[in-house]
Amino acid sequence: MLDIKNLHAKVEGQEILRGIDLRVNAGEVHAIMGPNGSGKSTLAQVLAGREAYDVTGEVLYEGRNLLAMSPEERAVAGIFVAFQYPVEIPGVGNLYFLRTALNAVRKQRGLEELDAMDFLVVAKERMKLVEMDQSFMNRSVNEGFSGGEKKRNEIFQMAVLEPKLAILDETDSGLDIDALRVVAAGVNALRSKDRAMLVITHYQRLLDYIVPDRVHVIANGRIVRSGDKDLALELEKHGYADLDQKAVARMSLTPGATA
């Protein structure tokens, strides 16, 4: 579904991603871990189409050249990013916003647009997934939401939009243990053989609830290690600092690799 080859990204002259290679198949959940500043979130932003980055390399999404697509084209093609810091849009109703988004996606898929009543039925059903209170629906997009409420709202949006590729950018940050459980349960309910997920996180904790098929560690803009779910546990034990040194040591031993 997603094939990333030698992806580089620069912002204001500074190189953040230095050659990412990653392949994600439908039905798989990949965790991307790494220390702060390693480039995890940049990867999410670049895949979403953020224009602030100067990007080179190749990204194929369902065989299409993703980097040539606008953010909205990517979205209607089935890419969804649950943001680390969801923005507030004062005065725009949460439900209205989401219905507009869903109808944009449906239009692309050749489906009829949903009117307010039909949409409400869908929304109410999906809200249960993240145990969201109905009062959220009438509030403005993320306005006055707590950190945890914003994250729930992201997963709720994901449940409504039914993406093919979901990228969760530090969805666990700022969540207490109960909220984390709710959010993770929502995400797990959305796992399916047709849907791939990239779960970006700093902590192993989230992966106790969302068990990944693959774990990748990013350091200094490169994937330095990949493994199964046990890699996350190893990191939890030894920390990133240990891994960084090992990774750097190993890389410098790899023929042809330059720092």
Partner: protein, 481 residues
């Protein structure tokens, strides 16, 4: 950035009301003189006192200088190059009922989305339709008359209700008030007159639709609304004009009088032709609007959505004379391309415990310049007066401007005046968030701006809130970066 480029690409802005209808007209010669005023007055068969009032205004106007303090730039206006009266010639002399209105006029209004039939989409709203200098028809007059409400063109009001007109004309905006109001007093041609008698709640929305059609014509309308004790009325005005290369002057006066316990809600959706994207043509909208809360516990509320005109220059104001009276001003002003707006309000607190609320939302795009100018004046007599002002500006792009000039004068120590202001740029983050959810840039901008204005739109009558939102979307097309 791609966003910028994409947004710029959309700079073709369509003004869909820019058509001209070919109507046979009866016009006075170009230019202004006492003779022209006499001709206008004679055409309208006016009583002597009204002609005298006009002439008094004209003579005073000759001694005045055109104000240039507003934050807008434009070339000199040649007052002798304007046609001050232009009326389409009815096929039937003096149509008495709506059935006799010229079909071409009806077709023009249909094209504008305004039905002059008493059934159909706007069936809950009475309409006075004004083209250039005259009213061409007023709907629901009979039904309104049953409850004692007078709703007619100003000219008819002068003929049929001279005592009421004489009593209230100039009682809020005197003929000597300011340059453009004084000019209007001399040459005003038509407008609407509404009178809601004591204790009556007007059973439907009243509205006037102003249409400038003829070239080189100035529109100088005058509207007077009087609500007697405990009466209530909600009134709406809408306006459009053809696209022309030459600027046209629109200098209107609106006077509102609310007696004890009365409420007047006045809403405007102003969509005069704004000129093209290089600033050629468009309407100069220089308007004086003022209401007087003459009685205790009365309330006047102005809501305006200003998206049109090359230059907008207006300050719908409230004189809070009656104790416990309330004044409100809710405004959305949008300037795109080369449009300039200098708008705001004046709240003059005279009575005790008078309250006023000001909520202004300014949106600047393209090279648009948007100024909020507001005065809150608390007189010595206004013990316990309160005002809350909030002015928010949103900038779309790098070349537009937002300016705020609040004037506050407080002469009573028990008064409370609050002023809040904010200026923000439309957020790249907000836009990106919308786009990541599949919403195209243009729709995202419109959505974010509409959200910004929502508190004001909520104040509009339901039928018009949706239109105002749509209008904002159209006016914004391709405006941002």
């Amino acid at each position: 950035m791609t966003t910028l480029a994409e947004m710029r690409e959309l700079t073709t802005r369509e003004y869909k009301y820019g058509f001209v209808t070919d109507l046979e007209t009866d016009a006075v010669p170009r230019g202004l003189s006492e003779d022209v005023i006499r001709i206008i007055s004679a055409k309208k068969n006016e009583p002597e006192w009204l002609l005298d009032w006009r002439l008094k205004a004209y003579r005073h106007w000759l001694t005045m200088e055109e104000p240039r303090w507003q934050n807008a730039h434009y070339g000199p206006i040649d007052y002798q190059d304007i046609i001050y009266y232009s009326a389409h010639k009815p096929k039937v002399a003096g149509p008495k009922s709506l059935d006799e209105v010229d079909p071409e006029v009806l077709a023009m209004f249909n094209k504008l989305g305004i039905s002059l039939a008493e059934q159909g989409r706007l069936s809950g709203i009475a309409v006075d339709a004004i083209v250039d200098s005259v009213s061409v028809g007023t709907t629901f007059k009979k039904k309104l008359a049953e409850v004692g409400v007078i709703f007619c063109s100003f000219s008819e009001g002068v003929q049929d209700h001279p005592d009421l007109i004489k009593k209230y004309l100039g009682s809020v905006v005197p003929y000597s008030d300011n340059y453009f109001a004084t000019l209007n007093s001399a040459v005003f041609t038509d407008g609407s007159f509404c009178f809601i008698p004591k204790g009556v709640r007007c059973p439907m929305e009243l509205s006037t639709y102003f249409r400038i059609n003829a070239a080189d014509t100035g529109q100088f309308e005058r509207t007077l609304i009087v609500a007697e004790d405990a009466a209530y009325v909600s009134y709406l005005e809408g306006c459009t004009a053809p696209m022309r290369d030459k600027n046209q002057l629109h200098a209107a006066v609106v006077e509102l009088v609310a007696l004890e316990g009365a409420q007047i809600k006045y809403s405007t959706v102003q969509n005069w032709y704004p000129g093209d994207k290089d600033g050629k043509g468009g309407i100069y909208n220089f308007v004086t609007k003022r209401g007087k809360c003459a009685g205790a516990n009365s309330k006047i509320s102005w809501t305006q959505v200003e998206t049109g005109s090359a230059i907008t220059w207006k300050y719908p104001s409230v004189i809070l004379q009656g104790d416990n009276s309330v004044g409100e001003f809710y405004s959305v002003a949008l300037t795109n391309n080369r449009q300039q707006a200098d708008t705001g309000t004046k709240m003059i607190h005279i009575g005790k415990n008078t309250r006023s609320t000001i909520l202004s939302k300014g949106i600047s795009a393209g090279h648009g310049q948007n100024t909020y100018r507001g005065l809150v004046k608390i007189m010595k007599s206004a013990a316990g007066a309160r005002n809350h002002t909030q002015c928010d500006s949103m900038l779309l792009g790098e070349e537009c401007g937002a300016h705020t000039f609040p004037y506050i004068e407080v002469k009573n120590p028990t008064a409370k005046v609050e002023h809040e202001a904010s200026t923000s740029k439309i957020g790249e983050d907000q836009l990106f968030y919308c786009r990541q959810r599949g919403i195209p840039v243009e729709d995202a901008v419109s959505m974010i701006v509409n959200g910004f204005c929502r508190e004001v739109f909520k104040k509009l009558p339901m039928e018009f809130a949706a239109e105002a939102q749509k209008l904002l979307g159209i006016s914004l097309e391709g405006s941002v970066g």
